[in-house]
């Protein structure tokens, strides 16, 4: 890395990486940067970029806070002169920095930022420089509703969501919309404040009173694990817990056996044979299991998505990269074949994976594309 940057500015292009390296989401962010670094080394070694260009990754920490993210992106653009930005995994953060990257004309690829407004503004117009590699919350909410009501036949749901998160609110909204259409009933709908609240017993006591058969948790790993643990300590039984793509393996450390039997919508399954080479390389390089596998794989694949766009653009001009990203078609990546929808900048028709917690592991359970109501 050091030698590459010394050998001359023309051969190196800087790519910013926006990640939470400290704070509540540090586990996700650190995994993403490590995985992206792995991809960058492979991309540079294979000479994928045109004209002998090499990528230099510039990671910035946004500490799970939007104001830090805005500063980080400003520095990436003004100081580091990056040609593109990968990350973050947070919808709220990507929505906060979207005006910045779009004004500066620097393409950005969200990794696990699933809120629709990451790539499409309030007026329904696509943000020209904002992209993502994951599926969206409307889709994820629909998958959750479909799987709970139709596949598991659980028709009485309670929701406990995070009012301070765009991701959580969006997923909750799209779940409710679809769940009702699939014949389900919402018996309790309660909220908490993420990043501040760690005690959910008050809400859980109210939820227990409503006697749901499924509790929907559209949140992030730490909170979901704490909720499930505290539910067990309050003696809540005979309820299935379901959540979105915030699942992470560290939840087992927090909630232990209480996690058994819960279902999680996800982007990828850690057991997918196609992903094993990545896990091996990651382990070899960092001597660490890639526990936050969704972030690892999407961070890794996002770098390849970007590298492919630079290759097809034939230059590292941000505008040219943007145009190439928009025209990505049938690009074979590790976890999926990606075609970008030019109208929304979302990948088209990705299957969702359902994970089931069993035997202290989240195992692959099902692959779904929900039926229309």
């Amino acid at each position: 890395m050091l030698f590459a940057s010394l050998s001359g500015a023309q051969t190196v292009v800087k790519v910013g990486y926006l990640a939470a390296l400290t704070g509540d989401w540090a586990a996700y962010g650190q995994t993403e940067v490590k995985a992206a670094q792995l991809a960058v080394e492979e991309i540079n070694a294979a000479g994928i970029l045109p004209g002998g260009l090499k990528i230099e990754l510039v990671p910035y920490d946004f500490r799970s806070r939007q104001e830090d993210a805005v500063n980080a992106v400003r520095r990436m653009i003004e100081q580091d002169k990056v040609v593109a930005i990968v990350g973050s995994n947070s919808s709220g953060v990507n929505i906060a920095v979207a005006p910045l990257v779009n004004r500066a004309g620097i393409p950005q690829i969200g990794t696990v930022s699933t809120n629709p407004r990451v790539t499409v503004d309030e007026n329904g117009k696509v943000r020209p420089y904002s992209f993502r590699i994951c599926f969206t919350d409307p889709y994820q909410g629909k998958v959750l509703a479909y799987y709970a009501a139709k596949k598991l036949n659980l028709k009485k749901a309670a929701i406990l969501y995070d009012v301070s998160s765009d991701y959580s609110q969006g997923l909750r909204e799209f779940f409710i919309q679809n769940y009702k259409k699939y014949g389900g009933e919402i018996v309790a709908d309660l909220a908490f404040r993420g990043g501040v609240d760690v005690d959910f017993r008050a809400q859980l006591t109210e939820i227990a009173k409503a006697k749901p058969n499924v509790i929907i948790l559209p949140n992030m790993g730490k909170e979901m694990a704490l909720i499930i643990k505290q539910a067990k300590e309050l003696g809540i039984k005979d309820v299935v817990f379901m959540g979105g793509d915030g699942y992470a393996d560290f939840m087992w450390d927090i909630a232990g056996d209480a996690l058994e039997g819960s279902y999680w919508v996800n982007h990828v399954s850690p057991e997918d044979p196609a992903l094993q080479p990545f896990f091996e390389k990651y382990k070899k390089k960092y001597n660490d299991e890639c526990k936050e596998f969704v972030n690892g794989i999407l961070g890794y694949d996002a770098m390849y998505l970007l590298a492919d766009a630079i290759r097809r653009a034939g230059s590292a001009n941000p505008k040219a990269i943007r145009d190439a990203l928009e025209n990505t078609k049938n690009l074979k990546l590790l976890h999926a074949v990606i075609t970008i929808d030019p109208n929304t900048h979302d990948p088209l028709n990705k299957d969702a994976v359902i994970l089931l917690c069993k035997g202290r592991k989240a195992i692959f359970h099902d692959r779904v594309r929900p039926e229309e109501q």
Binding site: T22, D24, A27, Q30, V198, R201, T205, E233, L234, F250
Partner: protein, 292 residues
């Protein structure tokens, strides 16, 4: 009604953890007249020492607990010696101590970010957390444990303050530090003892909080609520700190359960503002001017 009582139980259990933290605040405040915001750092330090000791001793909670208590107590003493003593010796304006404590809280938090990483860690299951039923009410065995140990520790502290020579010195210093010094009390030693005790209590709450909410470097953030509790109860008054904590814990749970969890913090800080408006010294506090 049942759910009201259940929320009350939840509130008391939360309040008893606040109480341990708030008493630590009050103890330091009563001597040095400043709020030590590094208290959350002592708490996190206790949590991490316990965590690593548990792992390396094969889950021996007694040894690990003891190490955590001593470790956090020493951290508190070192923090005082490094950051507060030099200021204390140069000026009598306590505002500088307050600012230094904010800095120290960030220093300790980041120390653990570097040492342990930002990841969430769970204390191995050495403390019982299983629920048991009383009619339709559910009580967690952990809540009873926390409640019991909190009461035990607070009585122990009260005993120390009332019945021992150093306890007498601390009470005298709380009344007037300078006069106590003139009467032959070794002030530096006394302050170290006070900080050690505060660190000890912080470590206990750190272990409890890590068991309940997992361990991460920012866990000390919760001390802000305990600080509010200490102010509501009356800064400098140990009984006030306990009372304020129990009130705050129950108020939080009842608000979140029956009104809205979004209003939880508004109620907490509303209580703070109300206290400052109606009774600035808190429920059981003495006016600071009486002390001077």
């Amino acid at each position: 009604m049942e759910s009201f009582i259940q929320q009350l139980i939840n509130g008391l259990s939360l309040g008893s953890v606040y109480a341990l933290i708030a008493v630590g605040y009050s103890l330091v405040y009563s001597i040095l007249l400043f709020s030590n915001f590094a208290h959350g750092g002592f708490l996190v330090t206790g949590g991490y020492i316990c965590y690593y000791a548990l792992i390396s001793t094969g889950n021996n909670i007694w040894i690990s607990g003891l190490l955590a208590l001593c470790g956090a107590g020493l951290t508190a003493i070192i923090t005082e010696r490094l950051a507060y003593k030099p200021i204390r010796e140069r000026t009598s304006v306590t505002l500088y101590l307050l600012i230094a404590s904010m800095g120290m809280s960030i220093v300790i938090e980041n120390f653990w970010v570097i040492m342990a990483g930002g990841r969430f860690r769970a204390i191995p299951p050495v403390l019982p957390t299983y629920p048991f039923k009383m009619g339709n009410l559910t009580i967690s065995s952990f809540d009873l444990l926390v409640f019991g140990i909190t009461i035990l520790l607070l009585f122990g502290l009260e005993f120390f303050l009332q019945k021992t020579k150093w306890g007498l010195a601390i009470r005298a210093a709380a009344y007037d530090l300078r006069v106590a010094a003139l009467m032959g009390v070794n002030v530096n030693k006394l302050i170290s003892i006070v900080f050690f005790l505060a660190g000890l209590l912080a470590a206990v709450s750190g272990i409890f909080l890590s068991v309940r909410y997992t361990l991460y470097p920012q866990l000390g953030f919760i001390t802000i609520k305990a600080f509010v509790a200490a102010v509501v109860g009356g800064l400098g008054s140990l009984r006030g700190a306990v009372l304020g904590s129990l009130i705050l814990g129950t108020a939080e749970m009842l608000t979140a359960g029956f009104i809205s969890s979004q209003l939880r913090d508004i109620v907490v800080f509303g209580l703070l503002v109300l206290t400052l408006l109606l009774r600035p010294t808190g429920l059981l506090g003495k006016a600071v001017s009486e002390k001077v």
